[in-house]
């Protein structure tokens, strides 16, 4: 009998099905294929005829069929729902650029959502700013011709408004801000600080009570030290309770410059 379904590589089967092979050898060789459902119909019919007349082959085929059930049981025992796939999140890009100011060069960064970083370059260099942005889960890149329109426009507007501020023609900033990666507590401190008007002062304790945590003056000071947008979020207007100037990330000289620019007087 011709066996188009049997593969030459499956040598045992080929030999067993060759001319002159014992029918039982041929039946045994066909059984795995029978279990797997890939025996061709002619062979399958022949096998059924054979096992009907040969008891030992009949028992063997039964054993193979039991095996089939067992393999199914053994494998499907471990069934569990597929877990949700965790994809690498694409980080938003923060485009950074330099801009000059009367208090020295500034590094600014903007995302699609708004201005996300402002740093006094004399205090922190480009590498440090990149690290800070990476910590906030931004992909920091230098602004250039490939910078999309929105972050590009934000950077331009920020530079213009900063120039106006230093030129005494602006007292409030009107910019979209991006606080991604800022902790909720720091964010609440920054929001409270943003409402301190130009030329006025507030104390660390005052900010603490504004956010409903009157005992948290020290934590407020720490949070302001992490202000990613100094000048724009006026942390320089927050000072110590006893009339001291408090601290400033970037140096007290800058804080003093900003306060005198705004005409604010320490008590």
């Amino acid at each position: 009998m011709n066996h188009p379904g049997i593969d030459p590589v499956d040598r045992l089967a080929a030999r067993a099905s060759g001319p002159g092979a014992h029918p039982c050898d041929r039946a045994l060789a066909a059984m795995p294929a029978r279990v797997l459902g890939d025996l061709d119909p002619g062979d399958a019919a022949w096998l059924l005829d054979h096992v009907a007349t040969c008891r030992s082959c009949g028992r063997e085929l039964e054993a193979f069929m039991k095996l089939d059930t067992l393999v199914g049981l053994a494998l499907e025992l471990g069934e569990a729902p597929a877990p949700a796939v965790r994809l690498p999140r694409t980080r938003p890009v923060a485009w950074f650029a330099r801009c000059d100011s009367p208090i020295g060069p500034l590094l600014m960064a903007a995302s699609e959502n708004g201005l996300c970083e402002l740093t006094f370059e004399g205090f922190r260099g480009v590498d440090e700013v990149r690290d800070l942005l990476a910590e906030r889960d931004f992909d920091a890149r230098p602004a250039g011709p490939e910078t999309p329109a929105v972050p590009s426009a934000t950077l331009v507007r920020a530079a213009e408004q900063l120039a106006e501020y230093f030129d005494h023609t602006r007292t409030r900033f009107d910019l979209p801000l991006d606080f991604q990666g800022v902790t909720p507590f720091t964010r609440s401190v920054l929001d409270a600080t943003a409402s301190v008007p130009f030329g006025r002062l507030e104390t660390y304790r005052g900010i603490a009570s504004r956010i409903g945590k009157p005992g948290a003056s020290r934590a407020v000071g720490n949070a302001l030290g992490r202000n990613p947008l100094p000048v724009v979020v006026p942390c320089h207007r927050v000072v110590a309770t006893g009339g001291g100037i408090g601290g400033y990330t970037g140096g007290l000289a800058i804080k003093e410059r900003l306060l005198s620019l705004e005409g604010a007087r320490l008590a």
Binding site: V9, D10, A13, L36, E62, A63, V71, L75, G78, A82
Partner: protein
């Protein structure tokens, strides 16, 4: 609306099953069975979860480069199969497993074995599947539990269709021999 639906249906009927449009659709449609494939291969859900994550990530990265008309299901199975095989290689388990598998799996000899019930056979078959050479195990599971064709299994194993078929048959025969009288 109706026209579009009808047109799309006609389109689908003409070109066979519609291709997967997005990575999310790939996961929705084929994720569960590819995960099941890995559970079957490893018989260890935690290990399967890790390999699945691995495979899904590879699929995600390569998805954009794949022809939209490609057989996404087979492609995803192939990625999962490769994740499984490369994991076995990385952990130096292949040689040991192959060695074990080439050594004949001893059949129970004493008469008592004949009296053991299906529970015993079930307890034995799992470890026997684990001891099949990884490629053979993969071929058998792909064929038996996931209904993959031999041409797909051949691509999965990186061999000819004939060799794929021989591998699957050989795996079944080994399991049969290993269980001996337990199947009587």
């Amino acid at each position: 609306m109706t026209t579009t639906t009808t047109a799309r249906k006609a389109d689908r009927d003409a070109c066979g099953p519609p291709g997967v449009e997005s990575f999310e659709e790939l996961i929705d449609r084929h994720g569960p069975e590819v995960h099941r494939f890995l559970v079957n291969l490893t018989r260890n859900p935690a290990e399967a979860d890790d390999l699945y994550q691995d495979a899904a990530l590879k699929a995600f990265r390569a998805f954009g480069r794949l022809d939209r008309k490609a057989n996404h299901r087979a492609w995803f199975f192939r990625i999962a199969g490769n994740a499984f095989l490369s994991d076995r290689r990385k952990h130096g388990r292949v040689d040991r497993l192959d060695e074990l598998a080439t050594a004949a799996i001893p059949a129970p000899t004493d008469d008592a074995a004949a009296r053991l019930d299906a529970g015993e056979a079930l307890a034995r078959i799992g470890p026997m599947i684990d001891r099949l050479p990884p490629k053979q195990r993969m071929a058998m599971i792909a064929r038996k539990q996931h209904d993959l064709g031999y041409s797909e299994i051949a691509r999965l194993l990186g061999c000819s269709e004939a060799a794929a078929r021989a591998n699957v048959h050989e795996a079944v025969r080994k399991l049969r021999d290993g269980l001996g009288e337990l199947l009587a």
